[in-house]
Symmetry: C2
Subunit: 390 residues, 2 copies
């Protein structure tokens, strides 16, 4: 099931405040969804995800198909019991990962033939196969199989003709995905994905054809795929708000904190991105006052937490009181700098908790602003604070 | 400060139940101390250590001297604030790590000259330097600098003459350590370390000379250094119970669950070992019913937790109810097997929590048995259960 209730709209932008009811629970939007590729958000316990207010997480269909595979997932009745996460899950279609295999895959109208990167087995992915796997995963939101149109490939920037051919196949795959999803009596919700590359008229065509198929929700795909930032902003400004107002809108794979706030203003309800988790492991930390490079030697002696305004476990410990409020229970930049230098696991464990908390808390602030009809003010304050420097 | 209260003694063995009061808290003995080399028990948050009942953890003086170094540690007023662990800490002397540098170090009566494995700097370790570093760390229990007599070196088994020369230098270093510790007005407790290799008469001499120096506690070093198991058992049976009854006894670097129970029976109060943490990262799990190799393919589909009787977070989740008691909140062997195959951090995070919980809980069971005057029965049951097979 999927029910979407539009709770409020912003007068200064396309931003909306909504509530999404799914088989495993209710999600307040706009929302950021942490990415849990292999059935785990890297380095984070499910209990920590709950504590930081995660409402819905992602799983990657392709990865979970490779390992542990369909037989194991089936025996657990899906991904929730397997990974011990009992709130909603969204799974991608596997299309992007198959596409990323490059020379190891061959795409046809029927689907994608490829060699398993784990054991070399010859495998076949199609809209039908993707729906079968996602049905086994029992994700609350499944995604249609699409072809993610690249911005450029081997130095060649995708033309409008190429983007159209790709988009039109994704539309045909959307129908096949929908048919198979229904045939399988999957009790969850299937989203269609708007493609069309960097071309507004193709985005418009894709969107209209998908709306005719009447999906319960829609995603915007094929952004944040290597294009210049201005192209991404252009498509973000064009597409989301043209999607049906009464259905949730998901911008795939985006992005920085600034991108998220811009995306909300463009009418997006849902986001996912590996940036907070991946950057955490590389020592890049997001804070209210800008980004922090933990590996910089200036942090060697710094007793402050990553973000003096933050109440996450890394910054405030079990007390939950931020440094700015007098809390001294958190871990210092000096300690986290040390853990990073020594390659200690606790380093990425704590920075990941912080970065995810930052993203989730940012979305909470966005929802509060929308609830109180002060989103325009919020955006201004957000931009000023982030530019201040940490 | 250090106060040791002997609460009970076992009639069937040399086992004792005690209570150790230190500057950062009270420790119930017999106790296992998790190893936190670089200021972190690898992969475990301090809050998890508290939840699993850790009372005292180790830090490695040599590692912390190299990174983050004395300046950082000094600015934090010691290791407790740096790593956010506010209960007792024991630090080793750094002697074992310097010795392990092999050809990169030169040992003389004065101390050890060596090249930093981190940046090649020429450094010098001596009893005085070790005491200075441990004073900066402000560990509740510091260890004297000793020379850990090897069982064998490059195929040559240490002779009684060699073991005597080494042991006698360790005694001289004990005196120098003690003098420097007092000169520094270190408010914590310094332990002497019994050496003497695999020779009972040397162990006896070492012990007697150390007892004359009147340390507040004593360790048995130079076991579990590559010797055959029967030699280790022989020294364990000889030395600990000959140490002063009114002072805590620490067996360094030991060992398996069976070694710990044997050690308690031999009169040992304190243990440390990297085995539960290191083995966890390699997929070897300790359980009530024997050891489990997580990488074995037979766990691929196994829905049971690692240990069906265990209440740790890995086995019982946030419920704290074991599988045997009907709890189904834990992580399955299938899931942990999958995480290990995929190289996901959550795998070692959970197996480490389990293994440490197992060791700490085993010591809790030992203490309960001693409190209830049924240690002999406990040992029998322990051996039977561990032999059952998981």
């Amino acid at each position: 099931m999927l029910q979407f209730d539009l709770l409020a709209t912003d007068s200064s932008s396309h931003a909306r405040r909504g509530q999404l009811t799914l088989n495993h629970g209710v999600v307040q939007t706009p929302i950021f969804m942490p990415v849990g590729t292999y059935g785990t958000v890297k380095g984070v316990m499910p209990r920590s995800l709950e504590e930081m207010g995660a409402q819905i997480i992602l799983g990657n269909t392709f990865h979970l198909w490779m390992r542990p595979g369909q037989d194991v997932m089936s025996s657990f009745g899906g991904l929730h019991a397997f990974e011990q996460w009992h709130k909603p899950i969204l799974t991608d279609s596997g299309g992007f990962q198959v596409w990323s295999l490059g020379d190891m895959r061959k795409i046809t109208e029927e689907g994608v033939h490829f060699a398993s990167p784990v054991n070399g087995d010859k495998l076949f992915m199609s809209p039908e196969v993707s729906m079968q796997i996602q049905t086994t995963l029992n994700s609350d939101i499944a995604m249609q199989l699409d072809e993610c149109t690249p911005y450029e490939l081997k130095g060649h920037i995708t033309t409008a003709d190429e983007a159209r051919r790709s988009m039109e196949m994704s539309i045909r795959w959307a129908k096949r995905s929908q048919n198979e999803f229904h045939r399988l009596n999957n009790p969850n919700a299937l989203f269609g994905i708007v493609q069309g590359g960097m071309f507004e008229h193709l985005r418009q065509e894709s969107l209209e054809q998908l709306v005719e198929l009447d999906f319960p929700g829609y995603a915007v795909g094929g952004v944040s795929v290597g294009e210049p930032k201005e192209d991404m902003r252009r498509i973000m400004a064009h597409t989301p708000h043209r999607l049906p107002a009464n259905k949730p809108r998901y911008l795939m794979g985006v992005g920085t904190p600034e991108d998220l706030v811009q995306g909300v203003a463009s009418g997006v309800d849902m986001f996912d991105c590996v940036m907070p988790t991946r950057n955490a492991r590389n020592g890049t930390v997001f804070t209210r006052y800008g980004d922090l490079k933990l590996r910089n030697a200036r942090h060697k002696q710094d007793h402050q937490p990553l973000d003096t305004s933050c109440t996450c476990h890394a910054c405030a410990g079990t007390s939950g009181v931020s440094w700015d409020q007098g809390g001294r229970g958190g871990f210092s930049r000096a300690y986290l700098h040390h853990l990073d230098r020594c390659g200690e696991m606790l380093g990425p464990m704590l920075t990941t908790i912080h970065n995810l908390h930052y993203y989730l808390n940012l979305m909470q602030d966005v929802r509060n602003a929308l609830d109180n009809n002060r989103f325009a003010e919020f955006r201004q304050q957000f931009a000023t604070e982030r530019a201040r420097g940490v």
